[in-house]
Each structure stands twice: as structure tokens, then as C-alpha cells.
């Protein structure tokens, strides 16, 4: 038996392997020369592989769907002839393979009697070596201009034309592909979309924000507060505080001021059951403290603020916010607030438009403290100023009452003694 190996030919420039898509022969079949053995698919085309010789199939390279390397054994044939084992690379049916045109040319000169078609077939695309570094890509001027205008670096392209020439089609497909296989030499628009399912706390926040924003017509009122005196007092208290007492932030002062303000305007410490059309005015002031936690916004509650003094408030704020942050807050500590404070801490912003914690009717937002020049009648003096951005449910709170409420808080904060002494 004389075995002849048919190897998988290079069916497309620059590819290393091709997918086997069809066998037209089985082991044991007799095939004639040029009969189709099978077909492989590259990313560009399906190419039929003809048999280079007559013989009996003794071996096939694999199953349909297998990836075959270019140049690997494709089919082995038993050719009952000369008695040597020879290896052939089959010619893909879609293109002509021949001896290099030059040799054919010599033959043509030597034997002019032979019809040129037989000895000088159409020039064979030469295997083009990969572009060396620094070598300019081969492309017509119009292709180069289009590439430049599209911001495409032609060095990133593989040309499908002869000698690796980059064609208009190569450029089109490169642009269409988005060229994510090449390092970007310019900023490219990003088109990726990441989908994240909104679950758990985030979904809860989303729902509550939607309800609050859809149902409540907000009125947001921003007022400036001079906190110079308050800050002096706070600094002094912190300096002289007992070791068993927590460090004071601005929050407990604000809480105390709100307690006094709602005492004068109880309609602000309420729940509006809009479905029933009833406003539940609460005697207890359960102060919601909007808190950023690792999993999102939570509003732990300092219950009965009206019954707590400054340090008590401070300690409770620390306790409930800590509990919310480390996930140990009980259900009771997270529901039932009657009015809410929102503070972004050090960030603060100049003004915010807080969303009311439904079904409450008021939320007080704390903005950043900044030293600003203040005209005291004779000259500019530096004062510590802070904005309060507060939102109200405009269905039950009129703008006038909202303004009055903020004014009450402002008055107390600017003259902090009033937080502690009944006028």
C-alpha cells in the first residue's frame, strides 16, 4: 500500500486553523483526482478541499466541528502506484495553487510550444511576511485618507489584498468591528452596557424614592445659617467634655433645635396618609438620620428625641448609625421616624434637594460649613456659614410655614443659647 497524505492547505491569508464543516468521503471510499474530500470554514468563507490524487481513503482528520491546523494532515489516501510515500498539500478549490510564477515563466521560455495557460497560470499571491516594525502599511492613498479621517491607525489592520494591501473593505470591516482587538491610539467611544439587577436594599431604596418623589409635591427651601457661635460652643464643649460623653457633632444641636421648632409647629412632625387623607401628627419626635451604609442609604431612627438632652442625642445618633452601618440595626431602629435629617457630612454641598422620607412631611438637609465674608455693617468679617436645604410636602405644608420652620431652626442655631433656654 502506498499512502499519500493530504494536508490542509492555507485557505486564507493569515489564519492558523479552520473549522471542519463537512466530509464528503468516508474511510474506505474510492476517490478520483479533484473529487471533493471535505470542506473547512474560515471566518471568511467555506472552502472545499479537493483530492490531489486518485485513491482509497484510509484516514480522516477528525469530526465535523473540529478545528484543524493549517498544514496538518487532512486525509490519508492509499494510492496504488509508484510505491513512495508522498506528502501533498491540497489546493483549495477557490484559488489556484501553482509553482511560483517565476519558475513557470522560465518554463514558458524554454518550451514555447506549450500553451501559456498551462505553464504560466495567473500569478500566485505570494505568502506575505508579516509587516515588520516600522514598515508602513500598504494601502492606496484614498484608503489612507479615509482611515485618518476615521481615526484609524492602519498599522493595526491586517490587509486582505495582495502583499497584505489594506483595501477599502478591510477598513470598513475594521471600523464596523470597533477594533477592540487593537490597542487604542486615540479615545474611542465606549459602547458596553453593564446590566445590574437591582435587588435587596437597593430595590427598597428605589421603591421608596419613587413613591416619595411621585406622590409628594416637594417644596425645597434653602436658607443660610451663621454657625460661628454654634461652632465656638461646640468646640468649647468638646474641649471640656467628660470622658464618658461622646464627641459632639453639629447633628445633636440641630436635633434639639428641630425639637423646639416642631413644638411650635407640630404639623411638621407628622405622617401624611395620602390614601386615607389623614395627617397623623405625632407628639413624639422620632428623628430619622439618613445614613450612607455599605449597601446603600438607610434611615436609622433616634426615638423620642424630645426626651433626650444634647449628649444623649449625640450618643444615640452614633449608636443607631453604627448599627445601620454594621448591619446590626433592629427593625425598630430602622422604622417609625416622624421627621428626618439628611447630612452628607464633610461633602455637604452648597445646596441639595432632599427627597422626603415618605410618609413624613419634612426633611432637613445639612450642607457644608464654609467660612464666608460677612458684612457686619462696618466691614467684612469671616463667619462660618452653613446652608440648610429642607424639603416639605407641599400638599400639607404651605411655603410660609416651611419658611417659618426653617427660620426657627436658624434663629436657634445662630444664637445657640436659645436651643437650651425657653424664651
Amino acid at each position: 500500500m502506498t499512502e499519500r497524505v493530504v494536508r490542509l492547505p492555507d485557505v486564507g491569508e493569515g489564519i492558523a486553523e479552520a473549522e471542519l464543516v463537512e466530509w464528503q468521503v468516508q474511510v474506505g471510499d474510492l476517490v478520483r483526482e479533484d473529487a471533493v474530500l471535505g470542506a473547512v470554514m474560515t471566518d471568511k468563507a467555506t472552502v472545499e478541499i479537493p483530492s490531489p490524487a486518485e485513491g482509497r481513503v484510509v484516514w480522516l482528520a477528525g469530526k465535523v466541528g473540529d478545528m484543524l491546523a493549517i498544514g496538518s494532515d487532512f486525509v490519508r489516501l492509499d494510492v496504488d502506484s509508484k510505491g513512495e510515500t508522498s506528502t501533498t498539500t491540497a489546493a483549495p478549490a477557490v484559488q489556484t495553487t501553482s509553482a511560483p510564477a517565476r519558475k513557470a515563466g522560465h518554463a514558458a521560455r524554454a518550451t514555447p510550444a506549450i500553451a501559456p495557460a498551462h505553464v504560466a497560470p495567473s500569478p500566485q499571491p505570494l505568502a506575505t511576511p508579516a509587516r515588520r516594525e516600522g514598515e508602513r502599511p500598504l494601502a492606496a492613498p484614498a484608503v489612507r485618507l479615509r482611515a485618518r479621517e476615521a481615526g484609524v491607525d492602519l498599522r493595526q489592520l491586517h490587509g486582505s489584498g495582495p502583499a497584505g494591501r489594506i483595501t477599502h473593505d478591510d477598513l470598513d470591516s475594521y471600523i464596523a468591528r470597533g477594533s477592540d482587538d487593537a490597542p487604542a491610539l486615540r479615545r474611542r467611544p465606549k459602547t458596553a452596557v453593564t446590566e445590574t439587577k437591582i435587588v435587596g436594599l437597593r430595590r427598597k431604596i428605589a421603591e421608596r424614592m419613587s413613591i416619595a418623589n411621585a406622590r409628594i409635591p416637594h417644596i425645597t427651601y434653602v436658607e443660610e445659617v451663621d454657625v460661628t457661635a454654634l461652632e465656638d460652643l461646640r468646640a468649647k464643649l468638646n474641649e471640656q467634655k467628660r470622658t464618658d460623653r461622646p464627641k459632639l457633632t453639629l447633628l445633636p444641636f440641630l436635633m434639639q433645635a428641630i425639637v423646639r421648632a416642631v413644638a411650635a409647629q407640630p404639623e411638621l412632625n407628622a405622617h401624611f396618609d395620602d390614601e386615607a387623607g389623614i395627617v397623623h401628627q405625632h407628639a413624639a419626635v422620632h428623628m430619622g438620620i439618613a445614613t450612607q451604609t455599605g449597601s446603600g442609604l438607610m434611615v436609622p431612627v433616634v426615638r423620642h428625641t424630645e426626651a433626650r438632652d444634647l449628649f444623649d442625642c449625640a450618643a444615640e445618633v452614633i449608636r443607631v448609625t453604627e448599627a445601620a452601618r454594621n448591619g446590626t440595626a433592629t427593625r425598630d431602629e430602622l422604622i417609625g421616624s416622624t421627621i428626618t435629617i439628611t447630612s452628607l457630612g464633610a461633602l455637604g454641598g452648597l445646596a441639595t434637594t432632599p427627597i422626603i422620607n415618605h410618609p413624613e412631611v419634612a426633611i432637613v438637609g445639612v450642607n457644608r460649613i464654609a467660612i464666608r465674608p460677612h458684612w457686619d455693617g462696618a466691614g467684612f468679617v469671616p463667619r462660618k456659614m452653613m446652608n440648610l436645604s429642607s424639603s416639605f410636602d407641599h400638599r400639607v405644608i404651605d411655603g410660609f410655614n416651611a419658611a417659618l420652620f426653617v427660620q426657627r431652626i436658624k434663629t436657634q442655631l445662630e444664637t445657640p443659647a436659645m436651643i437650651f433656654i425657653d424664651a
Binding site: 517565476r102 521560455r109 492613498p141 489612507r144 485618518r148
Partner: protein
């Protein structure tokens, strides 16, 4: 003082400058171009165009003179021609004048403002122009320097008297009896050939061992042979040392180290051109230089923002068509288009007899770059067309990469070969391979078949050689 502002100011209305200005005008850019001489620059006024006119006149005269001498094989006889050189020069001036008008018309049609006067930099955004009506100050967002180049003067042979530049040679009142050309480059040989054909006794003094040293010997040999046939004396490895005391002869140091003097009516010095970088306040900008040239990047930007430079001031090759392409590109860049210099081929033509055309790399340049090449030539001896032109000198040569057959260079030397430069440049610019040329039908009988045959030869199957 009269103040003007514009978006783009182009200094110099030579081929680079006027092309830039016209393209900018087309793109709707408010453009001003300043020129101290006539529009068209060196090329149109004192270079390419008038020299080609002179060469054509000389060719025609020589053809008739040869017939009169009975040297022509064509069976044509003629009486000895006479030459009214004043009329020749007038004809040449008329061509130049028509083209001056043409450029002015094109600038006007593109909406470009033309300011006649000498420009000099005030700063990177302002230029002072000395016009006949006084000084005008022009403020521009962008300035393009397109001041061109000027002939190099030899210290030992300053221009004046018998020593003339190419500019002077194109404006002579009569054909000099004895002309010495110092510098055997393309300018000297183009003019030297023309004057030889017009009857001058021409001697070429070249310092290197070969005329046309920028070309390889294969290309320059047919030109050297033709020069000798025209009676031109070529002294190579010879140095012009200066005029003798009376100023009527040139002192020459010959190849063997000896000295000789040569009487001459005119001594044409064509030893190269230098960029025009002085006399217009360029030093105020303190631009980065590249030797004597203004350094530019691939967008013709200089080291100063908003200042571009194009053409001869930016270096070799000092060719009008390079400047034009740069000018066009800069106008488009100023208009906000994305452009950069990525041209593969800048053809160069030497209008000697025969003409030399080169594009891309010569075989030796390719070897120097470490490229393995196939190079073949087709001699016009085997061309039917060449013989019908009564010429059999010259050839066309292709240089292609050995591995993928992409053409790297195409050169040729032959009568009227300049017109083939388009085919050569196109092939290179399109990235053609030998096979592309081989499979393109070239009309018969033409000299262009030589291109086809050279490619076939590299592929191993030339038909006619």
C-alpha cells in the same frame, strides 16, 4: 499704519504658498497671501517653467540645426537655422506672464486676498508687510512660511559680471559663446544642455567624480553620453577656484591636482539651493531648525503653535510638487480636517536630454535599507517606439521587494520620459506589485512598455528582451 486680520496668512506665493492659499480659500478660510515678487515663485518665474521653455526652444533649434548639418537620418534637410534669442526670451516671458496672471486669477477666484510686498515677522501671529503704499500690519491666527529657496553662491565666485545664477541664465540677452557650468547637478545640466543646443561651447565643472551625483551611474550615463555627443566638455573631480585676475577666465583645479584656466563669457554657478530663512524676521520666532531648514513634523507644523512651514524652507527634496502637496495638506489641517503627510512617492525629474525620472528607492538605496530586492531594467534599444523617435538611449528600471514583489522604486531615463512619472508615482502610491504592472496592458508602441517589460523581467518572463 494699516492693520488687517485674517485666519490664515501665507508668506510666499510660490507653488507651495499659492496652492495652500487657493485650497484654504476653497475651504472658506479667510486667507491672505503675501508675495514680494510676482506670484508663482521660483518655479514659475525663474525656475521650472522658464527653463523648460528655453529647453524646448533649444531642442527645436538643435533638431533643425542637425538637419542643416546633414546629420539627420530622417531624410530631412534644412537651411542653417538662425536664432533671434531676444524673441526666444520674449516668448518665454510671455509664458511666465500668462501663468502669473493665471495664478492671480485662481487666488482671486478662491477669495484669497493678495498683498504685494515684503513680509517680515513681528511675532508668531503678526507680520509686517512693506508694500508700495507703506507698511501694513497683518494679524493672523495661523501663518504658513513658504518662502522657498535661493541659489547658493560660491564664496570664490560671487554672482555678478560674468558669474551668473540660474535666474540670470534665464534672462540672458544672447547665447554666450563660451559657457562654463559650475556644478553638474540637474539645474546646471538642464541649462547647460539647452545652451549647448543653442550653439554655446559648454564646459561642465563638477567637483565629484560623476555628473548628476544624486543619481546612480546607470541613470546618469546616458545623459553624460548625450552631453558629449552635443560637444559639451565634462570635467569631473574638478574644482572651480575663482576667476583669474582679469575676470575673463575660470581657474580650475583638475582631477590630477593641476591647475588650468578656462576662458568664458559666462560662468553659470549651479551648486545647489539654500532655504530662504533670513531677511524676514524668522529669527524672532526662534523656531527649531533641522540643519539649515525649518524643522517640521508630519503635519508641517513648526515648533511654534499656529506656525506652519512648507516647501523648500523645510528641506529636501526641493520640488514644487512636494510644496504643493504640503500646501494643500496644511490648508486642510487649518480647516480642521485630519491630515498628515503619508505620501509614498515624490517623483523627481531631471529635464536633461534624455530626461531622468525617479520615484522611490533606487536599488542601492534599497540595499542600504537592508531590503532584499529584485531590480530589472528594460533598455530602449529594444523598444520600437524609441527607435521611431530616432533615439535608442535610456531604459526603465523597476525595484521591487524580493519577498512580496511590492514596488519600492521606479526609475527611467529616456527622451520625453517625464510624462511617465505619473504612471510610476501612481504605481508606488497605490502599493502596486510587479504582478499588477505585468497584468496591466501598456499601449503599443509607447515608451511606457518599458515599464511593463521591466516588471515582466523581474517576474522571469520578459517578452522583448
Amino acid at each position: 499704519m494699516n492693520d488687517t486680520t485674517c485666519k490664515l496668512l501665507v508668506i510666499g506665493a510660490g507653488p507651495g504658498g499659492y496652492t495652500c492659499a487657493i485650497r484654504a480659500g476653497q475651504l472658506g478660510i479667510d486667507t491672505v497671501v503675501v508675495e514680494s515678487e510676482k506670484p508663482g515663485g521660483t518655479c514659475l518665474n525663474i525656475g521650472c517653467i522658464p527653463s523648460k521653455a528655453l529647453i524646448h526652444a533649444a531642442d527645436t533649434y538643435e533638431t533643425v540645426a542637425r538637419a542643416a548639418d546633414g546629420k539627420a537620418q530622417l531624410g530631412i534637410s534644412a537651411l542653417k537655422p538662425s536664432l533671434d534669442f531676444t524673441k526666444t526670451i520674449a516668448w518665454k516671458y510671455d509664458i511666465v506672464r500668462r501663468l502669473n496672471g493665471g495664478v492671480s486669477g485662481l487666488l482671486k477666484r478662491a477669495g484669497v486676498r493678495y498683498v504685494a510686498g515684503h513680509a517680515s515677522f513681528h511675532d508668531g501671529k503678526t507680520v509686517e508687510v512693506h508694500t508700495t503704499n507703506g507698511v501694513q500690519l497683518i494679524h493672523a491666527e495661523t501663518i504658513v512660511i513658504a518662502t522657498g529657496s535661493a541659489p547658493i553662491e560660491l564664496p570664490s565666485l560671487p554672482f555678478g559680471g560674468r558669474v551668473i545664477s540660474s535666474t540670470d541664465a534665464l534672462a540672458l540677452a544672447e547665447v554666450p559663446k563660451r559657457l562654463i557650468v559650475v556644478g553638474g547637478g540637474y539645474i546646471g545640466l538642464e541649462l547647460g544642455t539647452a545652451f549647448a543646443k543653442l550653439g554655446a561651447d559648454v564646459t561642465v565643472v563638477e567637483a565629484t567624480p560623476r555628473i548628476l551625483p544624486q543619481y546612480d551611474g546607470e541613470l546618469s550615463d546616458p545623459v553624460a553620453r548625450r552631453l558629449r555627443a552635443l560637444g559639451v566638455t565634462i570635467l569631473t573631480s574638478a574644482k572651480a577656484k575663482g576667476l583669474v585676475a582679469e575676470g575673463t577666465a575660470l581657474l580650475i583645479e583638475t582631477a590630477d591636482g593641476g591647475q588650468t584656466t578656462l576662458e568664458a563669457d559666462k560662468i553659470l554657478v549651479t551648486v545647489g539651493r539654500k532655504p530662504a530663512t533670513s531677511g524676514f524676521g524668522l529669527e524672532l520666532l526662534d523656531l527649531d531648525m533641522d540643519g539649515p531648514y525649518i524643522r517640521i513634523d508630519d503635519r508641517c507644523r513648526t515648533s511654534m503653535r499656529g506656525v506652519f512651514a512648507i516647501g523648500d524652507v523645510t528641506g529636501e527634496p526641493m520640488l514644487a510638487h512636494r510644496a504643493m502637496a504640503q500646501g494643500e495638506m496644511v490648508a486642510e489641517i487649518v480647516a480642521g480636517h485630519r491630515r498628515a503627510w503619508d505620501r509614498v512617492a515624490i517623483p523627481a525629474i531631471c529635464f536633461t536630454d534624455p530626461e531622468i525620472v525617479t520615484v522611490g528607492l533606487s536599488p542601492s538605496e534599497a540595499w542600504d535599507k537592508g531590503l532584499e530586492v529584485k531590480s530589472d531594467l528594460f533598455p530602449f534599444k529594444a523598444s520600437g517606439r524609441a527607435l521611431t523617435l530616432d533615439r535608442d538611449d535610456g531604459f526603465i528600471r523597476t525595484v521591487a521587494r524580493a519577498d512580496n514583489h511590492v514596488l519600492l522604486g521606479i526609475q527611467g531615463v529616456g527622451p520625453g520620459l517625464a510624462e511617465l512619472s505619473a504612471a510610476f508615482s501612481l504605481a508606488l502610491e497605490m502599493g502596486a506589485r510587479l504582478e499588477d504592472i505585468a497584468l496591466t496592458i501598456h499601449a503599443h508602441p509607447t515608451l511606457s512598455e518599458g515599464f511593463h517589460e521591466a516588471a515582466l523581467k523581474s517576474l522571469g518572463h520578459a517578452i522583448h528582451v
